[in-house]
Structure formats: structure tokens, C-alpha cells
Symmetry: D3
Subunit: 293 residues, 6 copies
């Protein structure tokens, strides 16, 4: 029985293509435009999975729409922004308008950053157009794969604003060419999957289209799902910490973390499995994990 | 009438090749050697542009000398350094000599970092030799383009010192290969435009020479100059912050920033212009901006 | 007379192939597996060199075993870990077990980080298999060269743990593609020298095998050994600081550092040597340096 | 009509003793022992007030129990901790137990830190015993008042653990005597209101008991509630930022913040009111604020 | 001949009451209200002294007006703020207004922070009213003395804004009671010199009034002026660094700094003077220091 | 049998006045002047205790000399400093002299910081003169007690240098009055035990002299030694982390730490002992701890 029964919603399709692997698809026709309702649902989905303790060990995020990943923010929402925030008719006082916008921006950031709050890796499989918010979404995932025809644009400047939900916070840290990041962020120029690979934004360019890139991402997810969840989730936590701290701080944190994590049965189990040439079997991370998935 | 009339000086040529685009050329024969007088003038030029609020929206920095960008620091100055600082005959007390040098180094750093203090992006177009200080200068710009025959060297070790005005502070952050950065910094080996691209130091390698790379840089500057200055300058500010802060800190800062910046007419103007298939028109960032440029 | 006489030990061969250049070879048959005795000896060797003030100006680290660099941690040690730490039979109290592990992890981190505490650059020449701890070791060196047949794996997840002695602390900072780093860290997939170059982990891929890559590394070491040790060691110190601090903090630190370092005879010496077209001659960094090397 | 109607719950009494002022009382007989149910309710109450946008401008937190503020954590919960976390029977794997505890600790920290997430100041009025968790709770409030007979103890060491929900994170930052903080944290010694004042933990010692200290706190709350909510909430946000950032970072953040906040009608309103010798009248921070309170 | 001849201006009186000691007096009748012209002059005065390298070794800042130190910002300026920034009629676009305000705030912060940029300590002698900006000004000085009748108020909330030029950035770091800082910042309550001493804001409360507190401050300045300027200026630099960095970072920075500073003749001179029971004589910090002062 | 048998050395007396309590006395006649040999022995003693895992649970540091704690650095050493470092005749090159000094300063800092590297609290009992290095030493301890006649001076400026082994790094963080810290650091003025208490430097002023303050410190040490060593050492680690990190960072680190530390038998043991009204009994932190002490 598929998990989609209770996790899927009108714009977010969820399935379980392999044991412990979740597939999440963006499905808001025609162009996966993100209204505030959509991005709130997006964040809530990941947070629900994280808090319910389902035994997910890897997830793939992709678009269900053949021609693109997403065209970005719903421009109807963008228009509302200048008339005082998303949450109502809006106050007329300049400072109160700013506060109202601030709350919306922080909610928006929190929703798009949800994959970081999951204990398992999230692999995003990109194809077609990845515009504006699409780049923010991809940046907050762990691993990025792109079909060879993918076209990216850091589009926010074209609607008169600086990207504020992740692209500018993440890209200088997760890629290896500030010059290209700034060029694309200032100019909104389209860039190809190959440019993205050169810049260090994606792991690899997958020949083919939507199906091929999803296939490659699911294959990686399957490999990760076979590993010790203590080891994989610890690796994710330590890598996120490493991005934002000095080497010395990170080593100190990792030592504290591993001094507990090393007391796991997953280590003798992996060693025994390797010796016996069998697949290792691991308990879920949480004892309250639902039995299916 | 060209802006060069009042901004140009003996070693720095300034022109306005396109609306809101400034072109600054290094022109100290024969090799653009940077004496302290030259680097002080260099920093002062950018700071003057920034403080006067001219309506510049993008700038290109290049060399007016056909065979090179710069040979680096003027060795006459380097010689003076060991006899007690640039600012005079120098005290004989070791600690006072150090303090004198410290003031010179900080002035030097401040001058070379001037492009960061401009609200608009600065694109550097490199060709020929880019030695020593040339790398520091390029590192402090937003975007780097190199002609395919460009040759770089982090030359400082060859005169007995660690680079101290930017190269070592910026390169580990703005590129994607620490191993190469250290190799070139320790060995002073020449490296090519292609090496620079591989390392993540330049956006792209432009086939051809000085004219071609300047042409490409001006083209990018033209594109950027057509965008909302609120959006572009906000993007620059947020990217500079992002380089030096955690993701969480940067998102918090960006939210504060955008809660004000989103209250701009540039957003409805861009949306209206897109709808009407016309070019958007934006007010200058500052109401006291001079009418020409 | 070779320096190996007093520095070499059963698993660590040390020679002096060129003036001021040290060559350190890992030599624990059959697979350079790192027991705790081995990694303690490894750290102690570098710390001894650093503290004795020998006039080393560059070092090359490689494996003496033809088929690989290292298979990583000795699994006998890994097994001991789950029964209470390396330092004895281990206490049965969970918190005391954690504390015992914590001390071991911090000792381990300190040993693997030893190359950073040397005033000279350490170039690692990689070939064959570089598994698990091999990546941590390489990450803590200054420059990484790899033979074209090198195969890497961030292997720790396969024994049930998050890498905790350097790989996850360094890789997000010293390379240029977080997506690849995470992909390889979660999946333990083998990756090639070319992947490593694409990711920004190695300076260059050397055609050939063990001998060729060691040859290339020694050549670079020789170049560096000919430079001013004040300049090279200052560059190393400033680059390490730069990795973990903001641009502003690093410029401030560098200014303080150079205000002393510029008062060196190496600057007039390099200038005079360049003028006289002769090799510069530099004093050792420490007056108590042993005469041979 | 009192707001207690919908905000109060079995252990948390909420009233509105003055316009825009909320009074929250801890009321779990006999000793305000914090079970996990209680601290979850505590955090949820503040988060609900914050998210609903009620027009609260200051709050007072106190105990409804005559003889004490709180005896700290419910020891029934503490006992459960060693058998595997609060959220169930608990897994037997050491690492999974740690992860389960980690989630509980982070939830606990989040709940106790809730007053920081309110836009208005929270003043805690302390009397009687303030043990263990009582200090963590007080530390996360904005202002601390203590009746002269108050007795404090950083009690956690007496149940075998380091305080982990705020005391050790806050006290070194919000007080002025590390020596006293450590002495009390290591020894669990009782300390008086006067000691607390000497250490910098409380604003002032109020002669009298529970009623007097609540009276003084409500008086302060009343004064604050009469000020511009834009100014007060901005001050709180900037002070929280200041605690954790450098002076330079804080000035930069504050400038970004105030460049929006200064565009408020509260400034001309305060100036006009001062001129007209009348009380200023301010709009709520949020236009969706409920009309009552 | 007094230095006041060339440094004094209409609202800033400068004299040299003792060798190497500067006395700066705020003198804008009737209440030392700070218009933007006044605070720009204030910052420029300190920056001029710092950059000219006069041989100042300590300075005292006080008010020339008998009844107060300062009433704070000039309300005429505050009124202009809400109509678009200090620098002109102001743009009507919300984002451009914010940018204009941002520039003004940063200029304001830079001016008030000027005493930090001097190599010598600045002692502020406070008396009478110290309102609003007066607290920001005092916070940026090195040492604070207050006459016993001094009355303080963090007044900014009373004109509808969060203090943004120093008070909120400095106070949580330089004092020892966050509870009091927040209480006074939210409530704008007047507090006494004794409160200020209790909170850790001032060194000591001087019995008497304006003359007594200035006398005490000048006496301290005289003591400091007799010490090695290398030692005092190094101490200031290291203390400023310490405030904003970790212990480890500060020790590293201090070691770099002192490795140069210890090579000073001031050390043998102090030792010789102590031996010979005579006053030590020190060279100016800068060889280009003007002969007088 | 006293532990002094093997730990005491010529200038450092070590005894075990109570179970698990160590008493360390500075005993270099006539004035506890710290030569480099002395401070190296001081640091080595603490590091030896820490690394050997003796079951120490609290230590008291004091002076064995009736009239003072210490007169500070041995001026013979200070004199050597200006002629090229402690480690030899010294090189004549300015930069190499600086490097030599740098190594000495860092060794010095490391030695004085040794109490921080112990898992147990160190209480310093001060009396008589506490000059120069005495303040650095006290600052690196956990808790400071002073006899009422104690006299302090941050004396370094009087020999021409900025304090560089701890005073300036610690004092702004561990006390609550920057104004006083700077005043005393610039002026070298003597300050009393009461001043020290006002500033937040000492926990309390003990009426009486050397014996009384040692008695009070030993009493506190005895109390601490009766507590769970898991809880006390964890509290120390978390407090040291807290001093140098943000609240959010510290809470994250503490959660990781306690998720392991809570799995200790000390918690049920303390609860059972409290119930049974008996003293709790705890295992040593390390299973390899020597049986005596």
C-alpha cells in the first residue's frame, strides 16, 4: 500500500517507490507556480514527515509536470506584496507594513528550509525550467541532479527584489564560483545544466529528461536507504553544522555527537553483515516510527 | 558629454560607454605598477563615485595597456617597506615601525576593497599579465572575466611576503578548490585563464584579447544596468553578507532588509513593463544623484 | 646522510630527497590500515618535526605501498569502539563510555590535523585506493595531487558512523560542490581522480601511477622550498585563518601579522637576488634549527 | 471581560490586569513541578499569543502558589529520562536512545525559550523557591524582579546532569560575574535575592513577598505598555541580536532594521503627544490583532 | 600655547590641560542637542586627531554646559527623519527612503563610534542629564565616570524608535546586568549614577558635580599619559578585539600583535626608569606626530 | 598517603586535603615570580593531572607564601624578551624575532590556560598581592575567592606591554564592568578585593587572610567533590562553550552533549540517595583512574 494515501495533497504527490524511500512530486498545473498556500503546504509536508518519525531513509523531490520543475513564485502573490504583506489587507504605517512583510518572509524561509529539518537526505531531481524560487528550493536540498536540458534562472531581480528565501544565503556556500553566482544573480541570465555543474551547483548532469533524472535520483536514494540510518543522519547533521562553523568548532561538535552515536548496534551489524556477505539490517531511528515505511 | 571630464585622472580613465554604465581603465605606463599614490587614487575614485550618488548601475574595470592588466605593486614602494613604512623616514623602534606598517597595510586594504563599498556591481575584465596585486584587485570585484591568454600569478611570496590586501582573504571563500589556491599561493606559479576557470576564480574565459574581454564585460554591464537598482544593489549587499555569515544569520538579515526593500515601486513597474512588453524604467537609488549618469 | 635515521619508524619512512624537502611515506603492510598506534605515531611525527624547528620548507606525504594510499581505519579498532573506547576495557556507564570515546575522538582528530600545525606546506600525493580515513588525512594537508587511477571513498557510513576526524569538517570548506560532497558522504560511492578534480578536492590529476604523482609532488615541494620561508609560512598561517573567519577579520589579523613579518631580510634578499639573477638565500625560520635539514 | 477565558488552562492562569498587559501565572499544585506536559503547555501558550497577534505590549510571569515560584522539573520525568526518553518506552540501542533524548531536549529548550519569540517584553516576578528549571525560565525572560526572600538554586547537578535548557547558555551572557555563576552551578548552593542582584541576574530586589513583587512587575509592564510598540519590539529584537553578535554586526543589522522601522507614524505621534501634553496613542503591531487586548 | 587654537570649533572646545592629555568639551547651548551637523563635527574631530598622529595619550570628554551632559538628539532632526532622511527632501519610494535612512544611520553610527578609532583611551566625565544619544556616546568611550547627581535615560523609545547608534549594541556587552539594561531600554525610566554603577556602566560615582567629575577624569588621564603609548594603545586594541571574539581567537590575535609590539624600546626604558626611580620617557607612537602635544 | 609524593615539585606543592580534592600551592620564594621554567611547570602539572585521569573532582590553587599570591612575571625573563625570545640568543631578523616571540607567547598562553583543560573545577584562593600574571592566572580558573586585604594590579603596561596571556581575553567576558576593566588595564592602578567583587571578578571577599580564604575555597571544593562528576564536568564544559558561542549554538551543543551524558547511573544514584537520605556514591570519570585520589 502506498504512503501517498495519507501524505499526498492536491499539489504534492507522495509515493514510496522503494523501501524507506519517499518520492515527492510538485504538481500544481500548469507551471508549479508557488502561491503562499503552496509553499506553506510544501514546508508542512516535510515537517510532518520529520515529526511523525516515519522510517524514511532518503527522499527524492521532483516535478510531476513534464516541461518544467517550477516557474517560481506565483506572481499574484508578488503583486500582493507591495500592497502590504500576504496576511491581509495590510496596515498603512510603513513600519507596520515592514513587520508584516518580515513575518511573511520568515515563514517563507522556514517552509523552503524544511528539507534541512529532516533526518534523511533529500535529493532533488531537476528538469526543464528551474526559475526563481526553484533555485531556492534546490539549494536547501542535500543533493542536486539535473537533466541535461535543464535551464536555470535566478529570476528575482526581474520582479524587482533580491532573492530572500535561500538562493543568496546558500549559493555562495554550496558552490565554488562566486563570480558566476553573482553574474547570474545580477543579470537573471538563463544558465544550463552544464553551467550549473561547472559552478558546483549540481552533482551531475543526467543525459535525458524528466524520467532519466528521476531514475538516477531514485537509484541514489535506494543506495542511501540501505545504509545505517544512524550513520547517514549523523553525517547530514554534521555537514550542516560544518557549513556554518569553523573547522575547530565542527570537530568539537562532531566529537560530542559521535561519543553518543558510536554506541550503536549499527556498527557491529555492518561489520557482521560485511563479513557474512549479506545486507545489513537496521532498526528505525525512532521506536515510534510507523510500521509501514 | 563624457563623465571622464571630471572623474578621470592621470592614471585612471573613466568613461560612460552606455547609460548608467561606467568604464574605468588602469593607465599607468608601462606596466600599471601600483605605487602608493596609484592605489590611493584607485580607492578614492570608487569611494567618490559611491559617495556622490551618481546613478551608476554597473561598472567595468580593465587595463588600458595592451599587453597586461597589471604587473602588481611598484617595487620602489616594496623596497621602502623594509625601511619603515610608506609614510616617512620611519621610526627606528621595532614596535613603532610595526604600527606604522600596520597603518599603511590597513589603508592599502581599504583602497583595494573600495569596489565592495559601491552599491552597483563591478565587473573586472582581465587580459595579459595579472600579477600580485592584480589578483587582490580582481578578488574584490563582483564578477571576473578573463581573455583566454590571461596569465595569473599570486606573486607576493616572490618578494618575501604573504599577500595582505585581499588575495588570501578572498580566494578561499570565492573559489572552489583550496588545494589549487594554496599551490599557487605558495609556489607563485603562473596559471592560465583556464586554470582560473577550473578553480572558480573567473566566470568565463573569453576567446580573444583585451578588446573582446572588455566587450563581453560591457555587454553584461549593460544587461545589469537595465534591471531595478533596488533589486541589484540589495542582491549585492545580501551576497556580501552571505559570504561572511551563517545561513541562519543571513536569512535573518535578508528578511530585515527586504521588509523595507519590498516597499518599492520597482516591483509594480517591472510587472507592468513585463505585461506591456516594454523596458522598465527605474528611478535612481538616490534622489540627489547627479542628472548626467 | 638521510634524516630517515632518526625520524623514520616502523610504519613511517622519512627521507630528504632535496634540500629542505621532507618525504614521509606510510608503510604499514598490507593496506596501511590505521590502528590507534599508527595514527598516534603519524600525529607525533609531524608534531615532532614542527616542535624541533628543523629547517623543513615543504613536505610530501605518500604511501610506500604500490597498490594503495590507505584502506582507512583498522577494523580491529573500530570493533573495540563499541565496547567502550580505545583506552581500556571501558566503563559500563553510558555517559562514562561517551566521555571515554570523546577523549579518543579528540586525540584522533588532533593527530590527523597535525600537518596544519607545521609551518611549512604539506603536499599529499595520492594513488590507488584512498578510503575512509585516507580522505580525512588528505583533507588536512595543504595541497592534494592524485594519480589518474586513484579511487576515493568516504567510507565511514559503511561501518555505521559519521566521519569524525576531518572529512566532514573540511570538505564543505575546501571544495566547491556541496552536492557532490554530500552524495559521496551518504552513499560511500567510489569516485575517481577526475571526480575529485571536478569537486575541487585535488589540484590536478597526474597521468600515471604512484611514482608519477610522487614525482610531481616533489617537484612542487622543491619549488616551494626555494622561496622565503617567512613568506610561505605566513601565507599558510593566513590561509588557515581565512578559511574560518570573515574577510574583515582576516584582513585585520593579516595586517597585525604582516606588520611584524615585513621587517624581514627576506624582502631585500629576494629583490637583490632578482636583480642579480641569482637564487635567493634565506635563513632558517628558527635559529635553533638543526644544521642538517 | 478577562482574556483568561480562552487562554487559561489547568496549570496556567492568564488575565489582563491592565490594557495591553498580560499576566501569566504558573499554577500546578503543590510545587509547580514541570512535567513534560506542563512545559509543553507553557511554551505553547507563549507561541500561541505570539502567533495570534493579540495586541499585547508587555507580560508578567509569576507563580500562583504562595510559597514558591517552582521546585523545578518533575522528578517523575527525570526518572524516565534514564530509561530512554520521554516519548515512549524507548529503544535499547545507545545511539537511538541518544537521538530520542536529543529530540526531547530540543523540544524542551524550544518551549522554555518561547518568551524570546514574543514581540513584547516578558517580566518575571520571582518569589520563594526558584529551583533548577526556575532559573532557566527566568533567564529566558527579558526582565527579572525578585522578592527579597527569594531563594535560588541551579539544582541540576544534584540530579546528576548539566543544566541544558537555558541556565548555562544564558547566565554567562546576561550577568556580570562568571565566578559566581560557576560556583552556584557546580555547588547547587542556595543563593539569595541579594546574591542574584550582585551577580546581575535580577533588576532589583523588591521588599516584601509574592504580592509586592508582582505589583512592581505589573507597574513596569504598565509603563512599557504605554510606549510605541514599534519602538519597544524593535528594541527587544535588537537587544537579542546584540547578545549574540559583534558590535559591528549588530550595528549593521540595526541599521537595516531601523531603515524600515523609522517610517512609522509612532514617531510623529510621540512628538505630537509630547507637545500636546497628552498620552500618545499607537496602532497595534498587527492589523489582524484581535480587538480585545 | 593651547591646542584649542586649531582643533576647537563652535560647538566643540578642545584644550590641553596636561602634557599629552586632550580635553574635549561639548558646548552647544542650551542643551547640547545633537543636530546632524553637530554629530558630524563630533566624529570628524576624533577622526582628525587620530589621523593626524598628534601625540595624544589620553583624552577626556565632557560637557561645557553646567546643568547637563546632553539632552540627546536635536528633535528637529528627528522630525525630518520621518519625511525621508537627513540628506534632502527625500524620495517618495518606500525602498529608496529606507536606503536613504540607512546611509544616514550608518554615518551616524560611524561618527559616534569615532573614539574607538583613536589609539589612546577616551574617558567620558558625565554630569547632570545624560539622555538618549548621551548614553550611546558614553558607551563608545573607554572609561565612564559619573558625578553623583547624574541622571541617565535610554530615551529613544519615547520618540518612537529603537536606539540605533550604539546603546543597544554596546550595553549588553560592556555591563553586567541584562535585566536592568532591558528594563531601562524598554521603559525609558531615569536612572541614577548609583544604578549605573550597579549595572556596570560606570567605573565610579564621583561625589560632587561637573568640576569634580572632570577633575577625577583628568587625573586618570594624566596617569595613563605617563605610561608607554605602545603598551596602552596595544591594550586598547586587544580589549576591543576581545569584546567581539572568542577567548581562543583573541589569544591568537594578541600573540600576533605582541610578537611585533614586544620589540619596543619602551620595555627596557620602563625597566631602566623603574630601576633608576625616574619617570620613563617614551617616543610618540608616530614619527610624524606634531611637536606640540 | 599524600598525593604530594609524586605530583609536587620544587615550586609547586600538591596535597590532598580531602577525598577527591587537590590543593596546589605556588611556592617560589620570595615572591612567586614566574620565570619561564616556572610557568611551564605550572601548565605541565595541570595537564599531567588531566591526562592521567586521576579521580580529582575539585582543586584549589593558592600561594604558599604568606604575603602574596604572586608578583607576576620574573623580570629577568621580561628583559630577555626584547633581545629575541626566551628560547635562545635569538635571530637578528625582525620577522624571525617576531616568530620566535610568537611561539613563546603561545606556549605561555597554553600553560596559563591549563586549568580550563581539566574536567574538574579549579578554585583560586587569592591573598596579598596579585600582580600582572597573577590576574591572568586567576582569570583562567573557574571560581575566584579573595581575602579582604588582597590587592590586584593589571601591571603589564608598567613594563611596556599589553597583557597577552589571558587578562585582556578573559576579563571583558567574565566580569560585568568594561569601564573598570579598561581603567585598571590602562592605569595599572592597584584595586582592592572589594573593587574586584564590584567588577564581578571574584565570587566573594573572605574576611581574614591567606588561611581563611584557603579554608573557604577548600570548603567549596569539598561540596563540589561530593557531586556527580558527570554532572560537574559536563557543567564546566558547557559553561566554557557558552562563554564563546551564541545562545543558539550553545543550546545545540549542550543537547548533543547531554543526549549522551543523560545515560548515566549518576542520575538514578542521586535520586536513590536523596530518597534514602544518604550520600550518593559515584564512579570515577575514567576507569583507568588511579586508585588513590
Amino acid at each position: 500500500m502506498s504512503l501517498a494515501v495519507d501524505l499526498s495533497s492536491k499539489w504534492l504527490l507522495v509515493s514510496e517507490p522503494a523501501p524507506h524511500v519517499l518520492h515527492i512530486e510538485l504538481a500544481r498545473n500548469p507551471v508549479n507556480a508557488f502561491s503562499s498556500e503552496f509553499w506553506r503546504a510544501y514546508g508542512a509536508l516535510f515537517d510532518r514527515i520529520a515529526s511523525e518519525g516515519r522510517d524514511v531513509r532518503a527522499a527524492v523531490l521532483s516535478s510531476a509536470i513534464p516541461k518544467l520543475f517550477t516557474a517560481g513564485i506565483d506572481l499574484g502573490d508578488a503583486a500582493k506584496i507591495t500592497t502590504g504583506g500576504l496576511s491581509g489587507s495590510g496596515p498603512s504605517d510603513g513600519a507596520r507594513s515592514s513587520l508584516s512583510l518580515l513575518r511573511d518572509i520568515k515563514d517563507f524561509q522556514h517552509a523552503i528550509g524544511a528539507p534541512e529539518r529532516c533526518s534523511f537526505p533529500v535529493i532533488v531531481a531537476l528538469h526543464g525550467l528551474v526559475l526563481g524560487l526553484g533555485v531556492d528550493i534546490a539549494a536547501a536540498c542535500d543533493v542536486r541532479y539535473a537533466a541535461d536540458s535543464t535551464q536555470f534562472s535566478i529570476k528575482e531581480v526581474d520582479i524587482g527584489l533580491a532573492a530572500d528565501v535561500g538562493t543568496l544565503a546558500y549559493l555562495p556556500k554550496i558552490t565554488g564560483n562566486h563570480s558566476l553566482v553573482r553574474e547570474f544573480a545580477y543579470s537573471t541570465a538563463m544558465f544550463s545544466a552544464t553551467d550549473a555543474k561547472d559552478m558546483g551547483l549540481v552533482s551531475r548532469v543526467i543525459p535525458g529528461g524528466r524520467e532519466e533524472v528521476i531514475g538516477a535520483a531514485l537509484k541514489l536514494a535506494g543506495v542511501i536507504a540501505g545504509k545505517s540510518p544512524i550513520a547517514v543522519s549523523g553525517t547530514k547533521r554534521v555537514l550542516l553544522h560544518s557549513r556554518d562553523h569553523t573547522v575547530a568548532d565542527n570537530l568539537e561538535y562532531t566529537a560530542a555527537w559521535n561519543s553518543a552515536a558510536l554506541q550503536t548496534q549499527d556498527i557491529p551489524e555492518t561489520l557482521a553483515a560485511a563479513k557474512g556477505r549479506r545486507a545489513a539490517k537496521f532498526a528505525p531511528l525512532r521506536s515510534d516510527a510507523k510500521s509501514k515505511l
